[in-house]
């Protein structure tokens, strides 16, 4: 016998996580694109993301209270609680980038954006596949995706060094360099949170809770080298 009603509700939760995920993906791409074009306009996206997150959280609590999930079901629901929180924080990073765009006022970009949109694209690509792995409970994919975080870290390092050359050449560019560094940092953090989602997926399937790798350590190692 299967628990048909409960199974349907679990599937609904997964579908809702995918919806939240695509809202976050769109927010990241849109804010970076707006920055690239210096197109400043108000957006409701972050508020919608937060609203969706609370909707899912509420649904999770109802399922925990009414269905008494155990074992795999419990790991799935508890981990989903964590995953939607990661997604909501990614939404905040996108909002942070939009805020920088606003704060830059009518000042032009220090340089045309090349690696920053690449970072955004890589983030979204990783996130999309991480959420697919979550829905399909695909451990192999969940283990493979975090490795790609190195590419995002490498792009971040490149942006960092490039911006530093501007600052060294002309300290008056400090503020504009800082803005872009902040944007790149937000995008670097998105990939770290994708790793967290993958860790949760592995936990849901195997019951083993372990950290895949600490991206911040990798970053500082590269800075030293």
């Amino acid at each position: 016998m299967i628990r048909k009603t409960f199974e349907n509700e679990l599937q609904q939760v997964k579908d809702d996580v995918l919806v939240l995920g695509s809202m976050v993906e769109q927010a990241i791409l849109d804010t970076v694109d707006a920055l690239k074009k210096r197109d400043v306009k108000a957006s409701e996206t972050d508020r919608e993301i937060n609203k969706k997150r609370f909707e899912i959280e509420n649904q999770l609590m109802i399922l925990i209270a009414t269905q008494q999930p155990m074992a795999h079901d419990l790991r799935l629901l508890a981990s989903t609680m964590e995953i939607i929180s990661e997604l909501e924080r990614m939404g905040d990073y996108a909002k942070g980038i939009a805020n920088i765009n606003i704060r830059m006022g009518d000042q032009p970009l220090l340089k045309p954006l090349i690696d920053v949109p690449r970072m955004a694209q890589k983030d979204v690509d990783m996130l999309h596949r991480a959420l697919t792995a979550f829905v399909e409970e695909d451990v192999e994919a969940a283990k493979a995706i975090p490795v790609e975080d190195d590419e995002v870290d490498a792009l971040y390092n490149q942006v960092y060094r490039e911006l530093m050359t501007f600052v060294i050449a002309d300290p008056k560019t400090m503020e504009r360099a800082n803005w872009l560094l902040w944007v790149a940092h937000n995008l670097e953090r998105v990939a770290d949170r994708v790793t967290n989602i993958c860790e949760r997926t592995i936990f849901i399937v195997t019951g083993e809770m372990s950290e895949i790798k600490n991206s911040d350590d990798e970053f500082w190692k590269q800075q030293k080298a």
Partner: protein
């Protein structure tokens, strides 16, 4: 049966290749498990998988069914419970039992406790024993002024605690509980579960329960029983582990299906 010098060992009961029969029918097959001292061990599993049969084997209660017999051993404090020289009455004294339906004697509350102790040759201060047992069973405050009233006049939950007090009065080492709260409302159930947590400081408890939430809430270890083979009605322990492992990351797919409510 004398108290052996293995009293300090970690395990109070251990089954070795245990098979339990009713006539030719093998009800329980090949159980190897260890019951840890001062812990609560739950036995869970679907109806008819042999949970109560296994529990009753721990104090030779199955022998009240004439055709029953066992193969293998149950070691209690270092001694085989089924050795020929062992007196089953003495076994049931040291390993007490509480049943699903509260079954107080049709006697006063006081006598419900005193009677068993008297039969077992208790020579000490009976008043003191009655007070001590009722306090241990968390019933004293509710009955201290009505000790001469019939035990049958109490509520279901109070009757069950009276039965626990009666079991404690003969100073057992292990208490077996067969669905002790299934006939009780949630508040009385909670009282029994809280009581179990107090009792395990001094006793070892083995409980059979259909209520998985109860096993999850109240026990330290859980034994998952299931019918071993398709079509063959014989039960066995398919997984035995710490309760928190059984309910969060069981190893056996059948345990997973059972605790998540996907019954076969």
């Amino acid at each position: 049966m004398t108290k052996s010098n293995t009293d300090e060992t970690e395990y109070v009961l251990e089954t070795k290749d245990l098979n339990i029969f009713y006539g030719d029918f093998m009800a329980v097959t090949n159980v190897n498990m260890k019951v840890q001292r001062n812990k609560i061990t739950a036995i869970i599993g679907p109806s008819g998988c042999g949970k109560s049969t296994l529990l009753r084997a721990f104090n030779r209660m199955n022998e009240l069914v004439p055709s029953s017999r066992i193969e293998g051993e149950i070691i209690f404090q270092g001694q085989n419970l089924y050795a020929p020289e062992v007196d089953p009455v003495e076994v049931r004294h040291r390993i007490g039992m509480v049943f699903q339906k509260p079954n107080p004697f049709p006697k006063s509350i006081y006598d419900n406790i005193a009677w068993g102790a008297r039969i077992h040759g208790f020579k000490g201060d009976m008043d003191e024993l009655v007070v001590y047992s009722l306090k241990q069973a968390a019933l004293w405050d509710e009955v201290k002024d009505i000790l001469d009233q019939s035990g049958l006049a109490l509520s279901g939950g109070q009757q069950q605690r009276l039965c626990i007090a009666r079991a404690l009065a003969v100073q057992p080492e292990v208490i077996l509980m067969d669905e002790p709260a299934s006939a009780l409302d949630p508040i009385a159930t909670l009282k029994i579960e809280e009581l179990m947590q107090d009792l395990k400081k001094n006793y070892t408890i083995v409980i059979v329960t259909h209520n998985m939430q109860q096993a999850a809430r109240a026990s330290d270890y859980t034994a998952m029983m299931m019918l071993d083979k398709e079509g063959v009605r014989t039960g066995t322990v398919i997984e035995f582990d710490e309760t928190n492992v059984i309910f969060t990351r069981p190893k056996d797919k059948r345990t997973e299906d059972y605790v998540t409510g996907r019954f076969g």
